[in-house]
Structure formats: C-alpha cells, structure tokens
C-alpha cells in the first residue's frame, strides 16, 4: 500500500460541466501521474508532476488541466466534460519519477461517466 487515495471513486456528470478529481498521497513522493484507462487502449498518460507547481503534459492531455499546490495533492480538472472523457482515471506515484528505474504505484481509480 503506497498510501494513495483518489476522490471521488465514482462520479456521474453531464456534458459541459467542470469536474475535478483529486489524488492524495501520504508518503511525500515527488512524482505523481494521471492516467486514463479505456477498453482497447490500455493506460494512457494525461499529465504528470515532478514537484509542487511543476507539471508536464502526457500523450492525451487535451481537455485536461492539472494543479499541484502541495506535495501530497495532485488535482485533475476537466474544464468542460465531454462524453469522450468517460473513463477510469488512475493516479500513480513514484519516488524519483522519470529515471526509468522507478516502480509506479497506482491509486484505486475513479470511474467517471459523462452523460
């Protein structure tokens, strides 16, 4: 257990509304990641953070923004949700991040349905 929680765990929202997902970690890991998982696509990186206020885009960042004002929290915001953003969202952490040798630990996931 890497001390990662995600909230909410389930959410149903309507097209056009803003949505914020929260990832919280208790072990002061520097690197945090947001992935989405869709059938037939595997896990795709949305955004990642390598420190407070330091973030970068992943391969599917369009329509998403992130913020990290504290080490322990990494927020993912859908400014105006669309049905194509219906997915399962996973947060992950790693101790040192992009060195290629680090294990990533995943949170329990958030199921988002956009109607």
């Amino acid at each position: 257990d890497a001390g990662i929680t995600q909230s909410p765990r389930h959410k149903v929202t309507e097209t056009g509304t803003p949505v914020t997902l929260r990832c919280h970690q208790t072990e002061n890991h520097r690197y945090m990641y947001w992935y989405r998982q869709d059938p037939g696509h595997g896990l795709r990186l949305i955004h990642y953070s390598y420190g407070v206020k330091d973030t970068d885009k992943g391969e599917v960042s369009d329509g998403y923004s992130v913020s990290r004002s504290k080490t322990e929290d990494f927020l993912l915001t859908l400014e105006s949700a669309t049905s194509s953003q219906t997915s399962v969202y996973f947060c992950a952490i790693s101790a040192q991040g992009l060195a290629g040798q680090e294990t990533q630990y995943f949170g329990p996931g958030t199921r988002l349905l956009v109607l």
């Binding site: 992935y35 595997g42 896990l43 996973f90 992009l98 060195a99 290629g100 040798q101 294990t103 990533q104």
Partner: protein, 110 residues
C-alpha cells in the same frame, strides 16, 4: 508510440505455461511489467533494465532483449490467481515517462 503486446488474449488451464511479448519500435531504456485484476488498480511485477537481463518473481519471469527492442513475460505452471490483464510499460530514455501497451488478457481456468 505504444509498445505492441501479443497475444491480445490467452486462455490457459491450470498448470500450463504462457508467454506474453512486448515489442517497441524505439530503443528501450527499461521495460516494466504490471498485472491488473478486474476492477482493481495495476500492480507492479518487475522492471528490466537494458542489458539483456532476466528477472524472476515466483513462477513469473521476464527477459529483455535490447537488440530486438522487446521483452517477454513468462508464466510457468499457471495458477488461477494469475488471471488478469498484463501490461508492459516501456521507457525510451532516462527522463522520459512510462508508456504502456494495450495489455494482454490472461484467463486461467481449472
């Protein structure tokens, strides 16, 4: 560019062996393997660094052929608990993020 996993799905009887392959179009720095049970988060299995090493994890082992830009995951004497979706993740450089393949669904039946 996602790594390509094969097969997409496989069904085994308990005790049988399986191999899952992961191929990249780019030179690899490392390969990571994860397993995900239905409705749960992915769980780390092992990392292989360039250099052609092979690692083991109980009856699950993996190899990394840097020259061929591919890795293989070997499941020996499969158990019901091995069922799930296996993902490889590839890293192309020291400071590049992990990119996952689409996964291989493994079902072990009695």
């Amino acid at each position: 560019q996602q790594p390509v996993q094969s097969p997409q799905a496989v069904i085994l009887r308990e005790g049988e062996d399986a191999v899952i392959n992961c191929s990249s179009s780019k030179a690899l720095y490392s390969v990571h393997w994860y397993r995900q049970k239905h409705g749960e988060a992915p769980v780390f299995l092992m990392i292989l660094l360039k250099g052609g090493e092979q690692k083991g994890h109980d009856k699950i082992s993996a190899s990394f052929n840097e020259k061929k830009q591919q890795s293989s995951l070997y499941l020996t004497a499969s158990q019901l608990s091995y069922s799930g979706t296996y993902f490889c993740g590839t890293v192309w450089g020291r400071n590049t993020p992990l990119v996952f393949g689409k996964g291989t669904r493994l079902s072990v039946i009695a």
